[in-house]
Assembly symmetry: C2
Homo-oligomer: 718 residues x 2
């Protein structure tokens, strides 16, 4: 039976969490909230949710549950859960850990779809807590109620003022901006909310997922993307559990053109180790995560400030049509600093066209510079049109996609400059940001009020623009990609007689490669020296062959003397056959020898490596990289999630440090990159088709030439 995997994935996603969307939407936008364990002291953690709901003017129904009082702060109290009306949208549970499970079961009876659980004392406390967590999870599932947390700060919706949190962030002013934010950390998440508020960019929605016994970041992200109030979704991650969902969420984000901006810790070895010990969970190999988000057009921020910078630009600027940056400064040196950083993070600072330069020369002083960076000199203070006109001219250069204007101090001219920037904003189409070093608070606030993004430091501005340009490029690629829809992928059954964790016989592996149109060196199995010679004539009529031991019990053939290369005469082939069987018998007497593989020798200019791996977090992923020092010393590999589109494959190849080796190099022609891209796409489809049973597949090396490619060695593990 053939099954369309894409279809099946969608189905299973939909059925996995029946009506979860509905429950989560009700959690995010509740029209009624019960507070289980509400204290009549509004300053206590257990009193704060009610306080915040009242302070911020929540208009829905509120049911504080407290058996010892009639009302709290003028809101009628409910003595127990049983007395709640049916189907309250959200329950905030402020009871201690040991009471949570029973409470959740009771809430389920009242058809409450989601309970937010603040209590700590679960998985973060060790094995005992983990057991409690597992038990809570089962009870909740049985009771038909979803859980946010435990050990979380809750959530808020700044639009309808549903403040289901005890986070002191809610003590301050809460403006509802079109940005959603999901954080796995409560403390840091709160600080990030505060940083965002300090930028006059309040989050519209905030959710802290805590221990994630049930509701996960990816599921929430999907719900947030669907909210019409939000334009951008952001997240702070410590470890991802259901990475399989990433592709679907990313696809949704692309369809809606709502960028996702994530900060995920654990980028490096030390960090990743620390992350693993901190989250105590499958954090997923960071390189895999990093490859996947780039493949899928999710923006990854380096840290909290970088994330907020990117979000701010995404909110207030049009998407740049490319990566070419115009720099307009009042200091030549500052322009150079910006250009330095731009190049470092993948933007271009192209020379402006002759026409543009001439036009700029008409409006700036003679000692300014018309190239890129444009140096308008400090004269613009006396004559603001210098800045206005030169910026407009530079941004109108057809080769320019985005601009940055740099200035410093000028405290005495703030009002005038705010007007200048507002005029520029009203007259240019292309996106631009301002860097104002040592700016006054008034200048910063004034620009923000005018919808102009301002930075205090050039690097931060360039870093944000680079990320946004990267997003815009990924979305353009996605648009092209989705135009040429990929075919459905037919599931491939596990090869006969291959057990879990066992090597797949080479000929079966080669057949699979052939079925997916991945060129491999011809090979057949010989069980005698004579047969080896005959096969050699067939697989390499005019060339040389390699002989390789074939045994389910031998993983590393070279280690047991099981490989001889470059054989071209009958004698040497025959001799090699006996040598190999003898050597392997000596080195590994217990190994069952299935014969010797006779394979045509191949040639190519560049060694490449492709691999498939079933990742515990992200599912089947494909790894690509150049052979030799590139992989061994520089660890220069890129990961994508299977399946991969041609455009994704092409973009992934560009991310290799050694990408230049695929182009014409040292008088050699470029390798056939189209063939390589096709092989990547095909292998990724093989991976998807075999996802149910394939653990690993290595094609190492693949030889690339200007004509095409050939996989020389295949190692496949079920």
């Amino acid at each position: 039976m053939e099954i369309d995997v894409n279809q099946s994935t969608q189905d299973s996603q939909a059925s996995d969490k029946k009506s979860s969307g509905n429950a989560l939407q009700r959690m995010l936008q509740p029209s009624s909230i019960a507070i289980v364990g509400a204290s009549s002291d509004l300053n206590k953690v257990s009193g704060r949710p009610l306080k915040y709901l009242l302070d911020k003017g929540y208009k829905g129904a509120i049911y504080p549950i407290n058996p010892r009082t009639q009302d709290i702060a003028g809101v009628a109290a409910v003595p127990d859960i049983a007395s709640l009306p049916m189907g309250v949208d959200l329950a905030v549970v402020v009871l201690p850990a040991e009471q949570i499970e029973a409470t959740v079961i009771e809430l389920g009876k009242k058809k409450v779809p989601v309970a937010v659980v603040f209590a700590s004392g679960f998985g973060e406390m060790g094995p005992e807590g983990k057991a409690m967590e597992a038990s809570l999870q089962q009870a909740a599932e049985k009771a038909g109620i979803r859980i946010l947390g435990p050990n979380c700060l809750g959530l808020f919706n700044a639009f309808n003022r549903a403040i289901a949190t005890f986070s002191q962030y809610a003590d301050g002013e809460m403006s509802a901006g079109p940005v959603g934010f999901i954080s796995q950390s409560g403390a840091f998440g709160t600080a990030i909310c505060a940083l965002s508020r300090a930028r006059q960019m309040g989050f519209g929605f905030f959710v802290n997922t805590g221990n994630e016994v049930d509701i996960s970041v990816m599921e929430l992200m999907q719900e947030m993307l669907a909210l019409p109030e939000l334009k951008v979704c952001s997240g702070y991650l410590e470890g991802l559990h259901n990475g399989h969902a990433l592709a679907g969420v990313a696809e949704q984000a692309m369809q809606l053109d709502k960028p996702i901006v994530l900060t995920k810790v654990g980028r490096f070895g030390a960090g990743a180790r620390a992350a693993a010990s901190h989250t105590g969970s499958l954090a997923g190999e960071d390189r895999v995560f990093d490859g996947l988000v780039q493949q899928k057009g999710i923006v990854r921020a380096r840290n909290e400030e970088h994330m907020l910078d990117i979000v701010e630009v995404l909110l207030h600027c049009e998407r740049p049509g490319g990566k070419n940056l115009a720099i307009i400064t009042q200091s030549g040196g500052a322009g150079v600093l910006l250009a330095d950083r731009a190049e470092e993070v993948g933007l271009n600072v192209p020379a402006l066209s002759e026409t543009t330069r001439k036009a700029i020369a008409q409006v700036i002083p003679g000692f300014g510079a018309t190239g890129n960076p444009v140096d308008v000199t400090a004269q613009f203070v006396a004559q603001p049109s210098i800045l206005t006109e030169s910026t407009i001219i530079a941004l109108n250069d057809p080769d320019i996609h985005v601009g940055v204007i740099w200035l410093q101090l000028m405290h005495g001219f703030t009002d005038k400059l705010l007007e200048v920037f507002a005029e520029i904003k009203s007259r240019v189409q292309k996106p631009f940001v301002v860097v104002w070093v040592s700016a006054s608070e008034k200048a910063i606030t004034g620009l923000r009020e005018r919808g102009i993004v301002v930075f205090r430091n050039g690097d931060a501005a360039v870093d944000a623009l680079a990320a946004v340009a990267q997003y815009a490029q990924a979305r353009r690629r996605w648009t092209l990609d989705s135009a040429q829809k990929q075919p459905g992928i037919t599931k491939q059954p596990r090869p006969s007689r291959v057990g879990e964790g066992k090597p797949v016989p080479t000929l079966q592996a080669l057949a699979l490669l052939k079925a997916f149109n991945i060129p491999s060196a011809d090979a057949e199995l010989a069980t005698s020296a004579r047969a080896a010679v005959e096969i050699a004539k067939r697989v390499a009529p005019s060339g040389a062959v390699a002989l390789k031991i074939e045994s389910m019990d031998v993983l590393h053939k070279t280690d047991v003397g099981g490989v001889v290369l470059n054989l071209s005469t009958e004698d040497t082939i025959g001799q090699a056959f006996s040598d190999i069987t003898e050597r392997v018998k000596k080195a590994k007497p217990e190994a069952r020898q299935d014969g010797v593989l006779v394979q045509a020798m191949s040639s190519g200019r560049v060694e490449f490596i492709l691999g498939l791996k079933r990742d515990p977090v992200f599912g089947m992923v494909i790894m690509m990289g150049l052979g030799g020092v590139w992989i061994e010393v520089l660890k220069d590999v890129v990961f994508c999630q299977c399946p991969v589109t041609p455009a994704e494959a092409a973009e992934a190849l560009e991310r290799l440090k050694g990408a230049a080796l695929l182009e014409a190099f040292r008088g050699q022609p470029a390798v056939n990159k189209d063939a390589l891209i096709k092989a990547i796409v095909n292998l990724s489809q093989l991976g998807k088709a075999c996802e149910d049973w394939l653990s690993e597949l290595d094609l190492n090396p693949i030889l690339l030439s200007e004509h095409g490619l050939v996989a020389v060695d295949v190692a496949m593990v079920a």
Copy 2:
């Protein structure tokens, strides 16, 4: 005659600018100041220096020169320069460009050692301005007066309140911190001063060098280092002119343990191109600059904020004894972010010892983490000893050199936390900084008042600590190095019959290499096929030889068919001789053939490249890198200034991305790194000895093995 180059360089530096030290010291610490062209309107540019001197309480003598008034703001005016007393320490010239030259000549007559020239309209205006500048330079030299500028903002000494600037920075409060700052940019320099003030870290001295017709950054740096008031010197550079002086200045900084922190623009191609067009000068190849500052222990900052961060840590923290960082947080995820960045910028985050972990476990809650990062949890707010004790224990781990404490918000606990940090500061010996995300102004100010460096973002903290740890390591290396003083280097005369820009005959080049103990493949020149065979027997009695055309008119021997490799029989050697001479005759009939070089073939596991280049800015520099893709694709090379010490060479090799290839790799033994270091040191001494006439020398490839190395090909240009 043998000349000690080191000695001679010092002599020439000293004699170059006779008594310049004295003049510059008087400029930096003047006890009398004349203002030529002082306006009686104190708000004008020409009035401001007097205003600032009075406002800030300068105690020295002030001579405003103005023929139209008796006094300005109560200070007696002087009608003209002729009426000045002899030997005023500093003249501030606020006249327009066309009056500068005559003014300077007059000031010279009154034995004024330095004139600060604000006027623009010189070199920055194009050829005419450049001519004026050259004329001014000559006139000043003749008049025996040094010039700061023109086109500069001047300088200030915040200690004795000598405010010889019109920069509006002086409008504000000026506290005198132990930091000197030299800027090539006036506008950006002023902004950097303002940023520093905003950190409560006022610069003690500021100098803007402008067009640098005379006084240069390096010369000023030397004088600033000598000032006892200063502990750190910083600079903002757009292009360096006298890079030769860098080594001397760096040496002085190391002797005094006064770190130099520089921001130099033009780190990348786009930036460097922009820099070249902006400064219109020899900015020096940035890679050379970057290699040299690392070699010499100068700290290079990425941008203005990074520079100020580093300076702040240098001022307030002990130097770390190594690169191992302890991270103490209240959020596991934040700890991971810090660890990520630490690894990215070259710090280590080692696991704490078992003893340390046990001790920390005694003081933090059970759900915290005792590893590194240490997660003290938010409980420390209730019980501050958790933070105090765990930080002290972590920093006392013998494997830890420096610490960072991360926290967020906690606005309600600022006073308590300030006490906690003050206690930590009083009880630990090792350096640490605080990261306080979303801190209140009160918290930031409070920590600074207590001499504790605080950041608002983790990356900035880690970046600064990494730079400081790098400085501390460079200084330790310098201490070891200076213990084993290098011998003087004997100047080598230009080889006979070699003209400027001409190739040096291979045998002469080989002789020079031999004289400096740089192993090269044996070679002799054959002028007949028979001679070639005889030579082969001598230079490679049991191995193969290579034959290479020798001609002053052939630079690229392979291009004209002038090279044949791997010859081991008499026949093939003889044939190759005729083939080469014939082929070269055909390809380049006009080339004078000097014969054919017969050279022993060599072997080695790793290809290396060493080169010498006489850099127009920095003098003789040595380049090192691995061959093949490392240099061709990754541009993975490191530069040092000649001569290089063994410790500098070893450290430079570590900076190569491919450094792992020099170690044991894929079952192969490590190459003989000591031999490589010795070759680098020796070649750098050759470079220094031949500095007067050598333009370029390439050893490409050098073959490295576990036994040693051999240079296979030499190309030398006079």
